[in-house]
């Protein structure tokens, strides 16, 4: 009985391309990837067949134009399993900060003839338009995450979702607490693990690029921030940052701002 290699596609929407680099930056192991999967579409690496039927699609980027909406529907139809990778695809990305503002005003501030550019009013997560089977968090995701997920999917193992906060990774690594001991504002207690406590290991506070952990207690974090001399707005700015549209972060930021999005306050 002959079995075909599973087919893989990598699709890009509005993004910085940083998540695709989790594959392109693999180094020599990149050359072993074709032994595992048949890469039929990955524009940045060469193969181009955007309309191909595939077993797994990795989707990077957010939806921000009418054309994107049609394209993601087509990707969904053509994919057995659809995986969103990174903050853009899972939550609209940093560019979704535009969702808080009047995008038309912003367009006219940047372009002299904004009418010539067709966009939606918002930048949205892929899951707002189509069913998503798995998500990888991070801005960017790293190679370990994506290879781990592909391995699981290819061997029929159910991927394990990370729900713990970054604090757990600090503990595992034996790092002293950035927030308590170093007195640096750190989003680790409310941010999902997966990065390996990158920022605390680099001597700074986490800035939340892996999105919300299972529990987001903004009230107790605010208390700690105040002890460090930071006000509500400073914490709000940290929730409304890279993963600003993830429901838990969005809500926390809005609570802190008192329901409005007055970033100048």
């Amino acid at each position: 009985m002959s079995r075909q290699k599973p087919k893989l596609a990598v699709h890009k929407f509005s993004s910085c391309d940083g998540c695709q680099l989790a594959l392109l930056n693999l180094g020599e192991p990149l050359l072993q990837l074709p032994a595992l999967v048949d890469i039929v579409h990955f524009a940045e690496a060469g193969p181009s067949d955007p309309a191909a039927k595939v077993d797994i699609s990795l989707v990077e980027g957010s939806i921000s134009t009418p054309e994107d909406v049609q394209r993601i529907q087509q990707v969904r139809e053509n994919s057995e399993i659809l995986v969103t990778v990174g903050a853009c695809a899972t939550a609209g990305g940093v560019q979704a900060l535009a969702n808080f503002a009047n995008r038309n005003d912003w367009m006219s501030a940047v372009y002299t003839e904004p009418d010539q550019i067709e966009t939606l009013q918002t930048s949205n997560a892929i899951a707002d338009y189509v069913k998503v089977d798995w998500e990888l968090q991070g801005c960017p995701i790293n190679s370990r995450q994506v290879i781990g997920l592909l391995r699981d999917l290819l061997s029929g193992v159910r991927p394990r979702e990370e729900l713990q906060p970054v604090c757990m990774e600090c503990k595992r690594k034996g790092l002293i607490c950035t927030l308590v001991s170093l007195g640096e504002p750190c989003m680790g207690p409310v941010t999902r693990a997966g990065c390996g406590a990158l920022c605390p290991a680099a001597g700074r506070g986490c800035y939340g690029c892996y999105g919300p952990a299972e529990q987001v207690n903004d009230a107790s974090l605010l208390q700690r921030f105040s002890q460090l001399g930071l006000d509500r707005q400073a914490l709000a700015r940290r929730f409304h940052f890279i993963v600003n549209q993830a429901p838990a972060f969005k809500a926390a930021g809005e609570r802190l701002k008192g329901g409005s999005h007055d970033r100048n306050a």
Binding site: G46, Q95, N142, G203, R237
Partner: protein, 432 residues
Amino acid sequence: MTATRDIHIHVPVLTRVEGEGALELDVVNGEIERLNLRIFEPPRLFEKFVEGYECDQVIDMVARICGICPVAYQMSAVQAFERLFGFEPPDWLVAMRRVMYCGEWLQSHALHIHLLAAPDFLGFDSAIAMARDYPDAVKRGLNLQTLGNDLIGLFGGRSVHPVGVRVGGFYRAPREEDVAPILQRLRDALPATEALVDWTAGLEFPHDEQAFISVALSHPQEYAIGQGNLISGQGLETDISFFDSFFQEHQSPHSTALHATLDGRPYLTGPLARLNLNFHQLPKPVRQVMEGCGIHFPSHNMFHSIVARAIELHFAVFEAIRLLENYEVPQASYTVVTPQEGNAFGCTEAPRGFLWHRYDVDEKGIVRYARIVPPTSQNQGRIEEDIRQSLEKLGLDSPDEAIRLRAEQVIRNYDPCISCATHFLKLKLNRR
């Protein structure tokens, strides 16, 4: 009725170019009547949404403009803030930022040469396909890319959106025991980067000399990367804060990347422009490699860009070795700097060309206004001019496929960056 023949070619995605783009070409009576490179990357409006954030947050935000050159964005931003706040980076910091930047040049140039451009020159549709016939060349490229990424990671924890850069320095200085193995790998890689220059110089290039203006940063003491004045091949020299007096940005129809011109004319920024203007500042051994490679610089053949990139890659490794050789952990990796109100300007040489930033900052250190001019949008006018001349030279009666391939190749010479501005090429060719 006139006998009109319209030919439409659609190539939905220009592979191996980071960005989306479409080329519209109208050929009437054997002459180009209209040539538009449409860049379409959904506008992400970065300049607007950094408003209201702290300077150090903005350094992390603007990295997200481009996954391939986040260090460039961070460095232009941090330079702007520090200039405004009157902070003069100490020697250690200047040197180590330069090393980190060398890491980005190394990974980005290696990625471009091996994964994006070489398959073109050698007739493959991807590096993975090319690896079957040229396994050593592809492996060399991937290993150099990894080395560049690790060099960035040394200072920033990761290579995409690194987390080390802050106003006043680095959050943490690399430890000596982490520097040593990387230094060793750089030394080991040096011969391979030298070989790479010869390898690229041995590719077959079309004869395609064109007149164009090169623009780059220039610094009296070094081959400019992270600081300097803007200069052109035509005698311009200016402090970066006067960018607006010489350069203009305008929107062209159906393109989300703004075009830039110098005194109303297109210009070139990037590796070839830098080499053309600053090659005399390359360290002697690097210059010897350049002079021995068989391609003469300065060059006005854009196809030589890949060689220019290889020379800069070799230089980046050479320079990183020099700067890391006597590495010591400093007393403090950063200085706490008090923000000041005013207009901040920053400009550094991203792998693809100079990257200019302006921020207006209030007294609390909150950004109130931003403007960012990335390399790819600067090169757009030049790319259009180049395609026009190259296609005329190729012959407009050539088959559509040949025209499309040549246009793609020309565009790839500029290594247009995805998210910095452009994406895929659709060729819409109308012949009448």
